[in-house]
């Protein structure tokens, strides 16, 4: 267990720079999730930490030791792969024990570790099976077991749940989180699924095009997104964006509506307003924007309505029991404290 520190981490493939100076401090025992669209550099960062790729410049520190030039096996890390990568020709016992090959511990001690990990993962009965006889979830558990048995300073997970079906994914998500609470190890987890990120992370690192866009707790990135990218990436359905301009006492929307802000901004500035669907309510006392309902998506406890407005299609959440009809014109409004304001040019959050 240890701190993991990334300093000005740069990675270039041939002549293309794919990571542009990543800085991050992961505290001992923290569960950090890297999330972002494909090609954002999250997996590359993980592979750099693992030592599967060479660092172009910058440094990686694990437990106070710069590991840039160390082999993966010398870095005191363990990794769980998206494809599990458990060896099909070995039993579960051998697969889990594989991580202990290089350890000098006596055989009995190794056996005890394997049994212990298997018990922790509820796999004691499966130890003598081959991977072919296991389900997807069980295979992933073996992969996690193989990582755990070595008791590494840092666990690295590379999209470990994306090959599982939805139900199993939810279950494994919970199991990994419980495991973290029990074992208390440092975990770096990569995913493209923002729900996974939100539910599991102590802190989320949101990446785009080789840059870190924001680092924060799930609540911070959701409620105080640093920019429009984070605002739209986190949360489903994604945040509505409406153009406007600051004016005396608030913001004038491009569509004409006026929104008063608790903390006024200097007037005459082009801005983008961000409104989460759940913060946009039909029949609000202070309507901001209106239009006919184009599509309804009933989800049971609530209904998503897609409203055609002059600013494009706006998604809002309506009551699950008596949602507006398709074609019905609704007026949507929001509380000023729930409105996110971004600079229209840079996309950075204001105020």
């Amino acid at each position: 267990m240890a701190d993991l520190i990334l300093r000005d981490l740069v990675k270039t493939f041939d002549k293309t720079e794919v990571l542009h100076g990543i800085n991050l401090d992961v505290r001992d025992g923290e569960f950090v999730v890297f999330v972002g669209p494909s090609g954002c550099g999250k997996s590359t960062t993980l592979r750099l930490i693992a030592g599967l790729e060479e660092v172009s410049s910058g440094s990686i520190e694990i437990a106070g030791r710069v590991v840039n030039n160390l082999e993966p096996k010398e870095r005191d890390i363990a990794m769980v792969f998206q494809n599990y990568a458990i060896y099909p020709h070995m039993t579960v016992r051998r697969n889990i024990g594989f991580g202990l090959r290089s350890s000098r511990a006596p055989k009995a001690e190794k056996e005890r570790r394997i049994e212990e990990v298997a018990a922790l993962l509820g796999m004691t009965d499966l130890l003598n099976r081959k991977p072919a006889q296991l389900s997807g979830g069980q295979r992933q558990r073996v992969a996690i077991g193989r990582a755990m048995v070595r008791d590494p300073a840092v666990f690295l997970f590379d999209e470990p749940l994306s090959n599982l079906d939805a139900q199993l994914r939810t279950q494994m998500r919970l199991e990994i989180k419980k495991l973290h609470q029990r074992v208390g190890s440092t975990i770096v987890f990569v995913t493209h699924d923002q729900v996974e990120a939100m539910t599991m992370a102590d802190r989320i690192v949101i990446m785009k095009d080789g840059h870190i866009m924001q680092v924060g707790t799930p609540s911070e990135v959701y409620h105080k997104p640093a920019n429009t990218f984070v605002a739209q990436f986190i949360g489903a359905p994604s945040m509505n964006m409406i153009g406007g301009e600051t004016a005396e006492g608030g913001i004038r929307l491009d569509t004409g509506g006026m929104l008063s802000l608790p903390q006024p901004l200097p007037p005459g500035r082009k801005v983008t307003l961000g409104l989460r669907p759940e913060d946009l309510m039909p029949d609000h006392a202070q309507p901001l924007i209106e239009g006919p309902v184009a599509v309804r998506e009933p989800l049971g406890h609530e209904t998503l309505i897609y409203v055609s407005t002059p600013s494009g299609e706006i998604i809002a959440k309506a009551d699950g029991r008596v949602p507006p009809e398709v074609g019905e014109t609704v007026q949507l409004g929001a509380l000023p404290e729930n409105v996110h304001v971004f600079d229209a040019a840079t996309g950075e959050a204001l105020g």
Binding site: I77, A85, I86, P88
Partner: protein
Amino acid sequence: MAATDEIRATSDSLLTTEGPRRPANAGQLTRWTLLFLGGVLMVMPIAYMISTSLKWPHEVYNLKLIPEEPTIENYTYVLEDGRFYWWFVNSLIIATITTLSNVFFDSLVGYTLCKFRFPGRYIVFIAILSTLMIPTEMLVIPWYLMSQQFGWLDTYWGIMFPGLMTAFGTFLMKQFFETVPDDFIEAARIDGLNELQIWWTVAMPLVRPALAALAIFVFLGNWTAFIWPLIVTNSVEMYTLPVGLSSFGDEADVAWELIMTGAAISTLPTLVVFLIFQRFIIRGVVMAGLKG
């Protein structure tokens, strides 16, 4: 386990149970006819080999498949002739060593070409592949001159050296290693194995079917090799089976019945090799460690 056995048994019985018969259509008839003809074409030479080995010399040119006076005299003669044992052992030693060598070196080179990025990798691969285009007949002369210079004529090493590693085997293994996902190799690297250990304990077991196929090819190829052993060997004791068999008879006459007898006996080891390794081939590449 019991449950899976049961499932297997059920699926087996499902496979063997005959469903309702549908009348064969024209397409099926054509297919069967062609397959039957193909089958006959394959079996005929073997049938003639066995049949000839059971004939007396005067009957050899009588092309009847069933010998008029069948005899096992030829077998007694060949098996009692000490030379046959020499040749058999020679061929066995050469084919076995060559097979082991190919399985080891071809896969080592194939793995390296497949999984490592190094400057000139592509050129090396192309160079290896291009040697496939050169026929054995052309290489025989340089090989011979080489053997002569180094004193390898009429030795096991002389017979074996051209086939200890093959371009074809390297190519085959490289292609098969492509099917081994990098995740396995990276996982092993993180688990602390060195590159040679990864190749041996992780990659090799995953390409076992390919190794089996390669072993069969190489073994058969060397077991039946004729031209090079014929050229490089001088003494009767160094002959391999095919070379030895062809020497039955004298200048005036070829003893076909003896050659066929020797050939019939010599197919036995190839059958054994095939039966051992085909199991691995039929089982196919198992990739159960990964999400498929």
